[in-house]
């Protein structure tokens, strides 16, 4: 049969399977991310059926998936929001980085990996999945809770930090050494600050320039700009993901709103391909040897996330139950961890990194939403009440006279 015919059959079957799996997952309350990863593991190298004809298509699709994931993330936030949040939440963000990135780096060094792999693993254990966390908060009806702004600002700081971290990781993995890495970091800092300043000052002008009443024209122009900027950013070693994120930040107002609507279906499609691709590039036979270390790392870094939420909540004047809720909401790792792991795989840094990252992400993204429900159980609430009776902290706000 002709090459493209097999491609159509493979991709069609794959996407349909993903759709059905996602539906099953939603019914059980599971995020589709682990199901996509498992599907990728099942096929591809060492899996059940190697998808030979569609490999190149899936590779390209995965690239587009990263770009779309990041541009949608940028569209969600406005430049003003990012900067405003920065000042208030910077200490919490710093705490989050220290408590969660250092264990990853230490773990990598302890088991004898090179420092480049340690930098990558630090990023993998550091960043919580904004998508999964936001969904958990929405599903559990916690959007109105007082600890939710704390959780959201930690996510915002992490996303902003990634704009600097990804270029650093990319340059490090490409083997340019520490000096080269710092140079890439400096370029990234200048670029991000420049984009933020331009977005805050001239945001409305930019949006008016892009704004077209025709939805088709809007879709094509926004997608085109995003892919273009992402490609240029990748050439400059600033990383395609960061380029896309900055495009999202630069757009605001009604353009951002319409663009979000138009790009969501595309993002869903290509993000699914992205997760499948990562699973495909991992040989399932490599996972059992790293399963126990991955589990240990997951338990450790989930505990540090709870600690992060606890300390950030305490700083914001939240009571004990809210602090635990904040920490437990941040457990899941997802998009960024897989992006960083994918970068490491493409540079061929450490063969055991991909299976470790896959197992790690699977564990956290499945157990995270489940553990986030813990504070809603009556026995948990009763336990906390017994511990805090007589020592209940005052609510953060003053009541009006």
């Amino acid at each position: 049969m002709h090459g493209t015919t097999i491609l159509l059959i493979e991709i069609g079957a794959l996407l349909f399977a993903l759709g059905m799996l996602g539906r099953l997952g939603r019914r059980v309350g599971l995020s589709p991310i682990p199901l996509y990863l498992l599907t990728g593991l099942a096929f591809g190298h060492g899996g059940l059926i190697p998808l030979s004809a569609s490999e190149e298509f899936i590779t390209v699709g995965a690239e587009i998936g990263v770009v779309l994931l990041l541009v949608m993330l940028g569209l969600e936030y406005s430049a003003g929001e990012l900067v405003g949040n920065l000042r208030a939440a910077a200490p919490a963000g710093l705490l989050d980085a220290l408590l969660n990135a250092l264990p990853g780096a230490a773990f990598a060094l302890l088991i004898g990996w090179r420092w480049q792999a340690a930098v990558a693993l630090a990023g993998i254990t550091w960043v919580s999945s904004s998508g999964v966390t936001a969904k958990v908060l929405g599903d559990l009806g916690r959007l109105g809770n007082r600890e939710t702004p704390v959780v959201l600002s930690v996510l915002v700081i992490e996303d902003l930090a990634m704009a600097f971290y990804l270029p650093l990781v990319t340059a490090t993995l490409a083997g340019v050494g520490l000096a080269g890495g710092l140079k890439a970091l400096a370029v990234a800092v200048v670029t991000v600050v420049a984009v933020l300043v331009v977005a805050i000052r001239y945001g409305r002008t930019i949006s008016r320039f892009i704004s077209v009443r025709d939805p088709e024209a809007l879709l094509l122009s926004v997608l085109g700009v995003t892919l273009f900027v992402a490609g240029v950013a990748a050439e400059l070693k600033v990383s395609a993901a960061v380029g896309a994120f900055l495009v999202g930040i630069a757009l605001s107002g009604p353009v951002a709103h319409h663009a979000t609507e138009m790009l969501s279906p595309l993002r869903d499609l290509f993000a699914a391909v992205f997760f499948v691709f990562f699973g495909l590039s991992t040989d399932p036979a490599d996972i059992p040897p790293v399963l126990l270390p991955a589990l240990g790392l997951a338990v450790l870094t989930m505990a540090t996330k709870v600690l992060t939420g606890y300390l950030a909540g305490r700083r914001a004047g939240i009571a004990l139950p809210g602090r635990l809720r904040a920490g437990l909401a941040l457990l899941a790792r997802g998009e960024f961890s897989v992006v960083i792991a994918g970068l490491a795989v493409s540079y061929g840094v450490e063969p055991r990194l991909a299976p470790l990252a896959t197992a790690y992400v699977l564990v956290t993204v499945v157990s995270g939403p489940l553990l986030a429900r813990l504070p809603d159980y009556a026995w948990f609430k009763a336990f906390l009440r017994r511990r805090t009776t007589g020592r209940r902290p005052l609510p953060a706000r003053e009541d009006p006279a």
């Binding site: 936001a134 007082r146 709103h257 009541d399």
Partner: protein, 172 residues
């Protein structure tokens, strides 16, 4: 952020939720906290906070546009009824007055919101009489017509202020 209602200050706190929208909440004098989470995509949730755990939501009720409008109407109507009932006992120096829109009023053909009577005088316009029809709880987008009679509730000074505004004696 705060909003005033006939001299009683109710403090509404506004908290941005990055990536989601904004939350407004207020603490009632009975000690309960009620809030509204307004999503960026236009949805809104009514939230009621737990007494034992003031950080957590006891209930988060999504409201459609129609439901939010209906709830606002019901609350507004009960306010008006309360005002009129209180008036009969002349409680807290509140008076009601029917103020006819004068012929040369600058607000004929303009919106109620443009008068900003509540902000400027503290008095509330609770109904408008037009062609023997009572339009209750007119919103800010309500457009005045000639010969409308405005029913306002407030203190003596507030009602005098409304008369002056509607006559065009006050600078916009």
């Amino acid at each position: 952020m705060s909003s005033t209602f006939i001299g009683v200050r109710v403090r509404v706190e506004q908290t941005p939720l990055p990536g989601i929208g904004v939350r407004h909440d207020l603490v009632t004098s009975s000690g309960r906290t009620v809030g509204v989470v307004s999503h960026r995509n236009g949805r809104r949730d009514l939230v009621l906070y737990d007494v034992d755990d003031p950080d957590s939501c006891l209930a988060s009720i999504p409201l459609t546009d129609g439901e939010a409008e209906a709830l606002a109407d019901v609350l507004g109507a009960s306010l008006m009824l309360g005002q009129l009932a209180g008036l009969r006992q002349q409680a807290a120096g509140l008076l009601t007055e029917q103020i006819a829109l004068p012929a040369g009023s600058p607000f004929v053909g303009r919106r109620l919101g443009d008068t900003r009577t509540r902000t400027r005088t503290g008095a509330s316009i609770v109904a408008v009489l037009r062609d023997r029809e009572v339009i209750a709880s007119p919103g800010p987008s309500f457009v005045f017509e000639a010969n409308d009679v405005v029913v306002a509730v407030g203190t003596r000074e507030g009602l005098d202020g409304v008369t002056a505004i509607l006559a065009g004696d006050v600078d916009d």
